[in-house]
């Protein structure tokens, strides 16, 4: 065993140029796969994090049933208790509370029915990107109670501008009438039409007063340290809060439940990515298959001699297979290393793709994309390359069994 391995290792360096080229091919394929997969996963993460940043957060705590039917009365009764608990949970980056109420919003000339959201200006700025989206006027201050932020398209439809007044009229939590005059302090543009057409935000305190919410809120919006921590945090909240401290009436939907479309889109895109990878792997496999096949043709004479001195064909086959495996492993390791380095470089610098701003904007993604290296993205592609290379080396190796020593030796 170890003799064969040694022999194989020496053999592959007998023709260093060919070996290097073969290894490069494998390394290149592995590298591309590592990078592409990291890029793809990175894009998804950016996409998820951006969508999450715009409104939903990674996870939310809300009353059971609120996700399906946003009824005013389905509230988190004691946000302070929730906050106390969330402060103790590992893996939570930050969180904020929000409340929402459907209202008639009217300017002098127009009236629309939209959802008004009460936000905590300080905390909200850490959880969502809203503060940076205000393009005109300014963001809310801590004590702003009757100031509002409004989406650019909605402001256009209502024909209002900064400092204009809006009347909101809805129903409070206790069924009473909620009415207020808000002054527009800022106009935001997220680039997502749906969002810019339907959202008005105001200070949470003012909201709670107008909508008779008392201390209650509708959503605790949580950002985890990273996307990978979401399930852990969710578990923690479920086990140690919802089940115990009188939190039975609450639920913890995560971003996948809040935005099922996003997950489906990602799955869809992943499938088309995989098709591309498969095609690439097939091309690489052919490339490598060729090299192996050629190498064996070239060495027919050598094998003839080996057989003539009594080496069994199966031993030669084994030897050749070891050679391929050695090359493949070296290639894959190189590929993983180079691929990871390239990925890490772009992970810091980001990739700018010209002409894609519009499309990215619509999904709320900034114009730079960041690949993200992970154990999966670094190993999944190379593993496939390994399997495929192995398979494509089997066929040429099997050809050796058919060799006849005399004929083989006559071969140039």
């Amino acid at each position: 065993m170890s003799i064969e391995l040694k022999m194989a290792w020496r053999n592959i360096w007998r023709n260093p140029r060919r070996t290097l080229l073969t290894i490069s091919a494998i390394a290149f394929a592995s590298m591309i796969l590592v990078f592409m997969l990291s890029f793809q996963l990175g894009c998804y993460e950016t996409m998820i994090n951006t969508s999450v940043k715009i409104s939903t957060g990674h996870l939310q705590i809300q009353a059971k049933g609120y996700l399906k039917d946003k009824k005013m009365r389905l509230v988190i009764k004691d946000p302070e208790q929730v906050a106390k608990f969330l402060d103790t949970v590992e893996g939570i980056d930050t969180y904020t509370f929000r409340a929402n109420g459907f209202s008639l919003v009217s300017s002098d000339t127009r009236t629309y029915g939209v959802v008004v959201t009460g936000i905590d200006p300080l905390k909200e700025a850490h959880v969502s990107s809203i503060k940076s989206l205000v393009r005109k006027g300014s963001y809310l201050k801590e004590d702003d109670e009757t100031a509002a932020l409004i989406g650019e398209l909605l402001s256009h439809n209502l024909k209002v501008d900064i400092n204009d007044e809006l009347t909101i009229l809805g129903q409070g939590k206790d069924g009473s009438i909620a009415a207020a005059v808000l002054t527009i302090k800022g106009i935001f543009t997220s680039g997502i039409d749906e969002f810019d057409r339907n959202v008005i935000m105001m200070g949470l305190k003012g909201f709670q007063e107008i909508f008779s919410m008392g201390k209650s809120v509708h959503e605790a919006v949580i950002t985890a340290d990273s996307l990978g921590d979401v399930s852990m945090v969710k578990q923690e909240i479920q086990n140690n809060f919802l089940k115990i401290k009188g939190g039975e009436y609450l639920a913890v939907p995560d971003w996948m439940e809040i935005m099922p479309g996003l997950l489906q889109g990602i799955q869809m895109d992943l499938v088309s990515g995989i098709i591309m990878y498969i095609i690439l792997v097939i091309v690489v496999a052919f490339s490598i298959f060729n090299t192996f096949l050629m190498a064996i043709f070239e060495r027919t004479r050598e094998f003839g001699v080996m057989m003539a001195i009594g080496t069994t064909p199966s031993r030669i086959t084994k030897l050749v297979m070891f050679e391929s495996i050695c090359m493949t492993i070296v290639g894959i390791l190189l590929g993983i290393i180079i691929g990871s380095l390239v990925t890490l470089y772009f992970q810091n610098k980001g990739i700018y793709i010209a002409g894609t701003e519009d499309i990215l904007k619509q999904y709320g993604i900034p114009d730079r994309l960041y690949p993200r290296l992970s154990l999966i993205s670094a190993t999944a592609g190379p593993l496939v390359v390994f399997v495929i290379t192995f398979v494509s080396s089997v066929f040429p190796a099997l050809k050796i069994r058919k060799l006849k020593p005399v004929e083989a030796m006559n071969n140039i």
């Binding site: 060919r18 073969t22 398209l153 799955q267 869809m268 050629m294 070239e298 619509q362």
Partner: protein, 411 residues
């Protein structure tokens, strides 16, 4: 002379030649095939969105797209008609529509919809609705209180054909207009969102309900053939704008109406060519490796040639010419294979319905018909040929550098 020699050379060792050819063929095939899949998807996506009420070109009141309310309608119908019929080529179809937001309700459900008043016969020829009826019947111009709705809408409202639906919207007098309609037909669309959003009634009824008189919300124009580059559309739109000569109207092509789609097309074209390059590199390693081996095998031959006075440049030329032939044959064969495989699947298309949930969301068609573009074939061929020749310089220089003694010593 060089060519004949090279041609003979490559067939001196057919096994090796075939191995190289195979690599090129597979590479080229994968480019053609993947390109065809992608283009097929793109065309189908554009076609879908265009037929989902966008059309090749639309005309609206200047303010309508920002603020699609009934006040922002167009009333100079005669002028529009005239501009349309004088500036468009015969054979180009168009239809008028009323399109406003409305509230639909029945006894148990209520929800927002887009109410579309259509000219049934004309509309059927220019948008998806003509072929989308899955049960019941389509509208006729004379229908008074008939409505067609989407399959998903039917399910959401838990209703059925022959049931009633009440529509409510704001009329031009700013009063609330409401009217009862009876569902006569159900349509299906590529996406559930479309099935839930749009409901259709005859144009005359919409205009009457909303007190619009002769005015309409939009004109949708369908050119006879889709030009995915949008040039034909832009040209036609320019002529229309000139013919209408009134800046309260705005004429826009699908590329302006669907900026996302345009951006997507540009981006995916860019990615395709990057991908071609990546595939070539994967394939290139095989080519270099194999031809390098071939060169070393023929070291004696090159040494001899040099000894006979052949200059290195001629040797390089010879080797590159051999590669050229291999590449050309490989590209041709790869193309043929690509065309054949595309032809084989384009008859029935590829069924993507397994992915339907996500696919619908992203406007990706349920069925995919691959489509070969001359442009992609040319790019794939050029990439392989140019880069193939470029990488063959390495073995060629190697061959040119063999000294006669070095070469003779081998074996």
């Amino acid at each position: 002379m060089v060519a004949i020699l090279a041609w003979r050379n490559i067939w001196r060792n057919p096994r090796r030649t075939i191995v190289i050819l195979l690599a090129v063929i597979i590479g080229v095939w994968s480019m053609i095939f993947l390109g065809a899949l992608m283009r097929g998807m793109e065309t189908e996506m554009v076609r879908n969105s265009i037929s989902t009420l966008t059309g090749s070109i639309q005309i609206h009141h200047r303010e309508y797209r920002n603020d699609p309310v009934v006040e922002n309608c167009m009333d100079g119908i005669d002028k529009l008609n005239q501009a349309l019929s004088t500036s468009l080529d015969p054979g180009i179809l168009w239809a008028k529509r009323v399109r406003v937001n409305a509230i639909a309700s029945n006894a148990r459900h209520t929800g927002g919809v887009t109410l579309v008043g259509i000219e049934p016969e004309k509309e059927a020829k220019i948008s998806f609705i003509g072929k989308a009826m899955i049960s019941g019947r389509y509208l006729t111009t004379e229908d008074k209180n008939k409505i067609i709705v989407g399959r998903a809408f039917l399910k959401k409202f838990n209703t059925k054909i022959n049931n009633k639906l009440i529509l409510m919207s704001q009329d031009t007098q700013k009063e609330i207009a409401s009217k009862a309609f009876r569902i006569v037909g159900v349509f299906s669309a590529e996406s559930e969102a479309v099935e839930k959003q749009f409901i259709f009634i005859p144009l005359l009824q919409a205009a009457k309900m909303l007190k619009m008189g002769d005015s309409i919300s939009e004109v949708s124009i369908m050119l006879s053939r889709l030009d995915i580059t949008g040039k034909k559309e832009t040209l036609a739109a320019k002529r229309l704008t000139a013919a209408i000569a009134d800046d309260t109207y705005r004429v826009e092509t699908w590329q302006q109406l669907l900026p996302m789609m345009k951006a997507y097309l540009e981006m995916s074209g860019f990615f395709l060519y990057i991908w071609y390059f990546v595939v070539f590199v994967a394939m290139g390693f095989g080519i270099v490796n194999t031809s390098l081996m071939a060169i070393f095998e023929r070291m004696r031959e090159f040494g001899l040639m040099k000894a006979l006075g052949m200059r290195p440049f001629q040797i390089i030329k010879g080797v590159v010419t051999e590669t050229f032939f291999l590449l050309v044959i490989g590209i041709l064969a790869g193309n043929i294979l690509g065309f054949l495989s595309v032809a084989a699947i384009s008859k029935n298309g590829i069924d993507l319905s397994a992915l339907a949930a996500g696919a619908q969301m992203w406007g990706i068609p349920r069925k995919l018909y691959p489509e070969i573009w001359a442009q992609d074939v040319a790019v794939a061929g050029l990439v392989v040929l140019a880069l193939g020749l470029l990488v063959s310089l390495y073995p060629a220089f190697k061959a040119a550098r063999f000294t006669p003694t070095q070469a003779m010593r081998k074996n």
